[in-house]
């Protein structure tokens, strides 16, 4: 081995170890506490491990943990579906049709995504108060659609432009409508891109906190992040065991989604980032 190779292996080993400790450390700590019967075992040295924290969080009806979870899943899923629908239509128009404004629209939409959430949430609250929507799923789904659609548009655009225009032309000559072209030809071909944009939208909604804490009041509409931020357990001060068990369960859907579909997520992030 040359000197350079030795340096290289050392660097790889050290950085690799650091990466492992840095990324997994807090995650392992979370799981560890969730399995312990008390959070202060580092000081007291007494501890027993069991799944009782998980059992409590999942079965104690008064904690409403399952309500938060189902609200989150519903809201994120519905948003992802609608955003996929609307953004793929728009991406189709912008990337494959000729009309005045086709270069302005995406930039305009992109500019919208730069508004910090705080700059719209106050007025959304007023709007939804008047419409009687505060504390409903709709109060989150509607702003989430508007808030995530720009990134979905850009990801879908970057995929759509890679598909040869000749395919559309051939179909149009055969008498197909634009809508049919979109759903029969473009959609299947760009499916990986559409899937990754939908996935990213889902994750963004699952994560969102500011809208959720201001526009919902109780467990009938609150999402997991709000539930966990305001979490009170069944006993003690901050019930770390319950809380970490809830956190671990809340992370599971996203971690699994991410690990299974990592290729799509990376592709989506790239599409969104490089283009947008």
């Amino acid at each position: 081995m040359t000197r350079e190779e030795i340096i290289r292996s050392c660097l790889i080993f050290a950085t690799g170890l650091f990466l492992l400790a840095f990324t997994l450390g807090p995650f392992i700590w979370m799981i560890w506490i969730s399995l312990a019967d008390r959070a202060d075992f580092l000081v007291t040295g007494q501890v027993e491990y069991s799944l009782s924290n998980y059992r409590q969080v999942l079965t104690a009806h008064s904690l409403h943990f399952l309500d938060y979870l189902s609200n989150s899943l519903w809201i994120s899923t519905i948003t992802a579906i609608i955003v996929t629908l609307f953004s793929s239509m728009a991406a189709y128009a912008v990337s494959r049709m000729r009309f005045p404004g086709r270069s302005v629209v995406p930039l305009l939409i992109l500019a919208m995504s730069m508004f910090p959430q705080i700059s719209i949430v106050g007025y959304l609250f007023e709007m939804f108060s008047k419409a009687g929507l505060i504390n409903s799923h709709m109060a989150l789904i509607l702003p989430y659609i508007a808030w995530t659609i720009p990134i979905a548009l850009w990801i879908n655009m970057s995929y759509f432009t890679q598909i040869p225009l000749d395919l559309d032309k051939a179909a149009l000559v055969d008498g197909a409508s634009r809508m049919k072209v979109l759903y029969k030809i473009i959609f299947p071909l760009a499916l990986p891109g559409i899937f990754s944009s939908a996935l990213l939208v889902f994750i963004a909604c699952f994560n969102e906190f500011l809208f959720a804490i201001m526009l919902t009041i109780d467990y009938t509409a609150q999402t997991l992040p709000v539930g966990i931020a305001l979490f009170q357990g069944l006993h003690g001060e901050i019930p770390w065991g319950n809380l970490m068990a809830a956190s671990a369960i809340a992370s599971v859907p996203l971690v699994i989604l991410t690990l299974i579909f990592q290729r799509y997520i990376v592709a989506g992030l790239m599409g969104g980032a490089v283009k947008g």
Binding site: T23, W29, I120, I149, L210, S251, L269
Partner: protein, 299 residues
């Protein structure tokens, strides 16, 4: 001439169809982003507190805000936080991306593992970090005391600097993976033969990094940092859980300041903070766009 010709090529039916295709998107964004932004500006001109009659006050909320030390504190904090977090994310991002671009046993595993922090909801990671920093039995104090670094436990969230670093660290943990992913793709786009040529010319490991890798990575790095900057400037959730703005109101971001006003029923002031936050974020984005010649990338 040419452009006239171009314009005539639009087909009327196609133009109409195109707008129909875009309409739903424009509609949602218009109603749920554009209208609220304008509405927020409108509200910011009022004294809007539920127990007082609503009253038009012009720009008084703005003059009140700009003369309040809270605002400058929050602005300073937001900017310092953004600079610190984004710098560290760039550093660790480059480091990890370089690692994951090398060929070595276990690389596949590390590429998967790095995604975990990114996949965990911010609030969950905030709660986890809250427990890590816990004074009496958090693992951070356990580690620093038992390793002999310090003799007494540190009250991490108790000093301005401690709370600041705690927030930055939690943010770096959560978002570095995003930077790594984008940089990794950038690295993979650098052709291997440039390195081979440099090797033949006798350039060492570090020289190759400075002369080839870093310059070629720059555009992608700038893009990922723009994203991170925009995101950090609007940070809210970590503060809400980890410090609640304390100690002494020293860790309030602009978004948190706005939320605080809304949640205390002062919608006029909340809107004013929101508008100013937007202006700050927008100005910084513009500077970035210019500096990074980002607009060229958009073509």
């Amino acid at each position: 001439m040419a452009s006239d010709n171009f314009l005539q090529q639009y087909e009327k039916s196609e133009v109409r169809t195109a707008w129909i295709f875009i309409a739903p998107l424009l509609l949602v964004v218009g109603i749920f982003v554009l209208v609220p932004v304008l509405g927020t500006f409108y509200t910011s001109l009022f004294l809007d507190v539920s127990y007082l009659p609503e009253q038009f006050v012009g720009l008084r909320n703005y003059t009140d805000l700009l003369s309040s030390p809270d605002f400058w504190q929050a602005l300073r904090f937001t900017l310092a936080y953004t600079v610190a977090a984004v710098t560290l994310e760039a550093f660790f991002g480059v480091m990890f991306a370089l690692l994951l671009n090398e060929v070595f046993p276990g690389r596949g595993l590390l590429r998967v593992v790095i995604l975990i922090p990114w996949a965990i909801p911010t609030i969950v990671s905030a709660r986890t970090w809250q427990l890590i920093y816990e004074y009496t039995y958090g693992i951070m104090n356990y580690l620093v005391v038992n390793s002999g670094l310090v003799s007494e436990r540190i009250n991490w969230l108790g000093t301005e600097f401690g709370a600041f670093s705690a927030l930055v660290l939690a943010d770096v943990w959560k978002t570095t993976p995003f930077v790594v992913l984008i940089l990794l793709a950038g690295l993979q786009a650098i052709p291997e033969d440039i390195y081979q040529q440099a090797k033949v010319d006798g350039a060492g490991l570090f020289r190759r990094f400075y002369k080839i890798t870093l310059p070629m990575l720059m555009p992608v790095l700038v893009i990922s940092l723009i994203f991170r900057t925009i995101d950090s400037l609007r940070m809210f959730d970590l503060v809400y859980v980890l410090t609640g703005g304390g100690p002494g109101g020293s860790t309030r971001t602009l978004s948190y300041l706005g939320f605080e006003a809304f949640a205390n029923d002062n919608f006029g002031m909340g809107s004013t903070v929101s508008v100013v936050t937007f202006v700050v974020a927008f100005a910084i984005t513009l500077v970035y766009l210019k500096a990074g010649k980002f607009s060229e990338q958009l073509k």
